[in-house]
Symmetry: C2
Subunit: 768 residues, 2 copies
Amino acid sequence: MSDNSVIGKRVPRSDAWAKATGSAQYADDLSLPGMLHGKLLRSSLPHARIREIDVSRARALPGVKAVITGADLPKVKYGNWRLVPATQDEYALAVGKVRFIGDEVAAVAAVDRETAEEALDLIRVEYEELPAAFDIDASMAQGAPVIHEETPGNISVTRNIAYGDVEAGLRQSDYVREDVFTMQAVSHAYLEPCSCLAQSDDQGRITLWTSTQTPYIVQCLLASVLGLRENEVRVIKPHVGGGFGGKMELRPWDVCAAFLARLTGKPVKFTMTRHEELATGRRRHPMRIWSRVGFRKDGTLVAKDFRVHLDGGGYNSMGPTAAFLVGNFGAMLYRYPAYRYEGFHVYTNNPPAGAMRGFGAPQALFAAESQMNMAALELGIDPIELRIANAMKTGDEIPDVATISSCAFRECLEEVARRSDWKRKRAELKDGKGVGIGCYSFITGGVFNWFDTQYPFSAAEVRAYSDGTVHLLTMASDIGQGSDTVLKQILAEELGISMKDIQITAADTAVTPKGDLGTWGSRVTLMAGNAVIEAARQIKEELFRMLSVRFNLNVIHDMECKDGMVRVKFRPDRGMKFGEAVAMAQKSRRGEPVVGRGTYTPRDMGLVTPTFSFGAQVAEVEVDRETGLTRVEKMFTVHDCGKVLNPMAVEGQVEGSIQMGLGYALCEELVMSSGRTLNASFLDYKTPGALDMPAGESVCIEVPEPRGPYGAKETGEGPVSPTAPAIADAVWHATGYRCKDLPITPEKVLRGIREIDRAARHAGDRDR
Amino acid sequence: MSDNSVIGKRVPRSDAWAKATGSAQYADDLSLPGMLHGKLLRSSLPHARIREIDVSRARALPGVKAVITGADLPKVKYGNWRLVPATQDEYALAVGKVRFIGDEVAAVAAVDRETAEEALDLIRVEYEELPAAFDIDASMAQGAPVIHEETPGNISVTRNIAYGDVEAGLRQSDYVREDVFTMQAVSHAYLEPCSCLAQSDDQGRITLWTSTQTPYIVQCLLASVLGLRENEVRVIKPHVGGGFGGKMELRPWDVCAAFLARLTGKPVKFTMTRHEELATGRRRHPMRIWSRVGFRKDGTLVAKDFRVHLDGGGYNSMGPTAAFLVGNFGAMLYRYPAYRYEGFHVYTNNPPAGAMRGFGAPQALFAAESQMNMAALELGIDPIELRIANAMKTGDEIPDVATISSCAFRECLEEVARRSDWKRKRAELKDGKGVGIGCYSFITGGVFNWFDTQYPFSAAEVRAYSDGTVHLLTMASDIGQGSDTVLKQILAEELGISMKDIQITAADTAVTPKGDLGTWGSRVTLMAGNAVIEAARQIKEELFRMLSVRFNLNVIHDMECKDGMVRVKFRPDRGMKFGEAVAMAQKSRRGEPVVGRGTYTPRDMGLVTPTFSFGAQVAEVEVDRETGLTRVEKMFTVHDCGKVLNPMAVEGQVEGSIQMGLGYALCEELVMSSGRTLNASFLDYKTPGALDMPAGESVCIEVPEPRGPYGAKETGEGPVSPTAPAIADAVWHATGYRCKDLPITPEKVLRGIREIDRAARHAGDRDR
């Protein structure tokens, strides 16, 4: 592997120049002749029946071209879980009821944004306010308001995982502990707010440029809502300024833009404001996790009972997946002979939660890893040693779910202990300083076909040209994570050419090859990467045949594409330039171009994912005992993402994950009051900045994953999860205060410290 | 054939709605962030050495981002005849010399058009004026100024065709006549002036949106000029407002836009003015044709000697093709046992001529058909009968050149005589009224690979979807002639679906399949159409296999795609919906999409074309003896274009050809004075308007062409040629004046009539 030319190298992102110079076009940068601007009227109430909507004054405003409400749109519900239609619970514009503050009620298209906004003020909605439920308990209580008539108890989805005898296991355990953890809602805070531009043709067919992670999903669902056939909708992904799971669904503005474009005959653009994004946008699920876990005296895990309630908000969104994944991650990292998971996705009158980076793992692992740390303490075992003793290994199986095809978790634990000087610091640090540990695992793409795609999970077409260049076409979606770059790297390596020889066309449902499920679950490198390899190998095969002809080679000769050449291995004199070989192959086909076509669909890999990443993180903090403020001074992360295809990209993902993890642990929270988001601006919603980033090290243990391209597995999401439990552990180490309720705010820390002090004083009093 | 569903039907153009509503985007409608506007400085002299160019003041003008001259560009000459590099004689910006008034000397990119124009005025060019040659004779004269140093005699190309013994034939003829004809320069007068927009990426790769008929040619030549690899240039054809042969080359603005985009890092747009188009743009070749033809007494053609001089202007452009085709068309329509052609492409200091609708045929046929009419008169044979006696027939061969695979010329002649009431009118009309005849033939695409493409001549990819829709991808270029529509018709017919089921992506060199040579020579319907059929048949084959499985069919069953169904012929109960069959085929491939890929390259069809169209036209005119003004009252056209795929489209082409033919015959002329175009505006350059269009009939004789899709052959260019000779003949019939020097202006007619009157008076005087 060490003689790779491009794979494993520090390759800068292909889109860096375009983004840095401003030539990259995001959806809101696009413009078409006669284009109209759209705005959405949103519900001001958390739960209400709509008695009447009067749009007449808005329609009469000069410059307004159309105003629509739920009554105008086809009555088709949508949602990402197409395989289970009962989960599809959203209308683009409210029909009959609104279910959260911000629920979309009407849409306006006007000649400019100002006019559209003015028109919103002229729409009169008569509501009948209904009782609302703003948390899990209120929503599940007897007599609670019913949010969707089809779901009387407000539990829209339940998920179960079970293997081994949990009850017996817990009975037989030497040590059992039971904890409850809660996690807040946080925002993706992507830099680019959602935006889309729709154009209709004379048949009412739609072209939609939209800021999305999942062009194919948007295509299919938009078509079904508009009553069009799938391919009468074309979705094109422009440059996207981050998604983190928040842009993987069909959204009301997509529907409204398309519908209004058909209605007016003009292109229509919608762009969300930051306030709309923070106040009403998708968010990470607030959860409550109850976990009971049993150990033998020596620290061996025996059984675990894991029960999770998810606050889904007003609609399902990606909740059904969250409800499964959180249970899956509850069983990860360690060998649980018996495991039981019950997950409940609960409707409330909060803004709906959706998918977000690490999907299910940050919550599950905050609970599970915190519990592991607390158990270690009580068992008198070092938390890293407790983990090593129970760590999953290559070849392990999660019954009915997955096999662990590669795992360097133990190595990660050992390495993070060494690099962070864990033993010494855990023993010695004091005076408000502490170290703590958190670990993680994440999926590398999903296997279970909840969207019910009819196409391969990923596809790539590679066109090789006699000029030495190559064109890669794929529906894989780069949303800023760098997948275009890594796919080009893979292709360059396979064909022995350079990055500059490759042009890429991606994420246009009309012209790129079917299919692709989009960017989520850290799936792109493995799945689209494997498709690219298959396509490239078809081309190599053809070029090798030409080489055989040209040099009259023995049938057993080994050949390679390398350094821009197609050549006999170890016989560089017997070679031709890549483009020359392509020209020869093309001649041999009497002019027909040389094209390779590859696809990837995970088969015989269980239900969840082809492979899991693993990793361990140690946080070193200082807690100010006067203010309760926690400052993370160092962060050590050791990551098992298989072979590192691009160290710059992996570092970027790990650093970005730490930044997001820091926010989740310490400061980020969408503060809610009766369904209203109180801090819907970046002034009030605090994300860590560059100056908040800790020092430390991020390293990878490179154990090649057999199912991954060049041995790679995921890197973009796993490292987002360990940060909160590691910091919580370090805060405990520094102060004695154990936080089970994210985020770990100064207020909570102060209160925790004071309680400990009070208890100590109390104990002192009693002892005295 | 009569049970076709779409083929042969009056199908409106697919782009009609977009064009009528203004949503169609032409190159000049496009805009990109930071875009600059370009303007060209053109030579004010017809022939001069450039001593010095001072751009410093222009560069200093605020808002100017770059000024370039020939010294800045790579010294790479280009031209369409890539197969013969010696013919490539153009630089985008003049190097050393200018060769015509309008030759491009410098280019400016500025923040807006006004600033760019202002900058042009600030560029100081110091010329050393050289003697110039403004016509063929001056240019070929001894001691004439040498226009290109590599071509001392100014004859850049000579072409010869010869078969049979012409000298013996003429000696043995009973009747020989010799004439000289001259034709003027005319403009394409397309509605959309040339325009392009170039964008560069960080590697200097170019995306160019340009108003072109030939994306592939522009791609290849632009790459070679810029020193890029072919596929480092991507050419996208937006909507195009007509080309007529005038947009089939790489042009200086394409090069300058791309170069300036690389230089400035900003997108750069150029759009020509109408003045630039008329004063300096490509035009139909002015020619002088000397023709000697011999007949037997009974009218049988024996031999023909055809010598042509083309005024090519300052550069070759498409002159090498013109010099061949005019000789080819001189031998068409009739059986010439012996034929000799010599063609001379002559450089002059006029603006360069290029390809234009009918390419070579309007000139060749004005001469040949006029001569036929004059010969008929002197032989005492009706001109239509003389033609019938010599008419080409299916199966005829033009030695070494082509076979006539279908020909209904005789039927066209008979039909046009009948419809126009020829016999009666030719015998009876008087008082300034007359009828005249002209005939024509045209190629249906070219065989000879002058561009030296490495790819198939045409290609189509057809993606069939389970939703019942189909996506056609092709590099074929609709420039307003309607090829997208006809290709969709062919595909709809093949797959038994409707036009609305089809989406098309065309003419983008990056994403549409290689290759296609562009839109010229009436090639698209036949070549791209055949590629579409091949692709569609692959899909049908796959669907038929599914039908066999589904209904457990006997291996001998016949099947069809028809009415949206895939079914057993004559057993409509055994069928499934098209989309259902596609879904089944896709399942049988475990999700891989159903795609057909077809190509077309003409083989075993000689050197010129797969097949020729034929036709005959009768013009009925009234000549005002006071003013000399000729008014065409009726026009009867009978056209052999094989099977008519879309009557609306064919009618449009024939009507459009008549309009252009009228202009060529009567009023259009780029009036030149010492190399300067005197009438470079639509006020002064007169094209016929709707009110000038004659009544009459245009009908088709539908004899299926075996090499054409559904039996079709060309229709877009042939009918442009007969109009001038038919009108000249009718004017003769009306007045006795025979015009051999286009256009037939009132001045010439008046002068002709007066000379005849004078001669008559003279004869009367003498007789008296």
